[in-house]
Amino acid sequence: GAGVSQTPSNKVTEKGKYVELRCDPISGHTALYWYRQSLGQGPEFLIYFQGTGAADDSGLPNDRFFAVRPEGSVSTLKIQRTERGDSAVYLCASSPPGGETQYFGPGTRLLVL
């Protein structure tokens, strides 16, 4: 079956602009995760959804970052008033009910000029 998909693959924006990053999980996966990977680092957790609700948003760095998953499938990560420090690869992952393994998408590379 299809894996996790993320759009866009790359996004270039200007400082202060608003961006939305989309994640489409594997069909039937109830858990969805967002991570941020800065250059030369491992991924860092941002937020975790179980169904439609955010079960853990402790990784969101500040209130400029927000994520939704209104129908329990597709999720959108929203970043307001982007800053150059937001430049990174944003990874999305999903896992099936009761599953402990997370399956990752190809990521969105965000560059803030």
Binding site: G42, E44, A55, S95, T101, Q102, F104, G107, R109
Partner: protein
Amino acid sequence: AQTVTQSQPEMSVQEAETVTLSCTYDTSESDYYLFWYKQPPSRQMILVIRQEAYKQQNATENRFSVNFQKAAKSFSLKISDSQLGDAAMYFCAYRTLRGGSEKLVFGKGTKLTVNP
């Protein structure tokens, strides 16, 4: 909070040889999961191998095996008969078993080069 340390920023191996990547972690929990993920230049994280902490037997997946030392909090990955396609970044990751906290905690990664 749990931490994961990968002390080897870069490693290299000759094709067909064996290489071991190191990983240590810090936790006060007794039950958890450990993972090795591979990230090629395409950016997609691919699961290599998984270990449940309550299982004493080391996990193996074809040419990939782990040496899990729970008391030492060590989780190394051994790649046998290395192939050119094994070249990638390798990340060690920890996941708690506590409900409501499903996140993965990653190390900084090891860049593996395979020389022909």
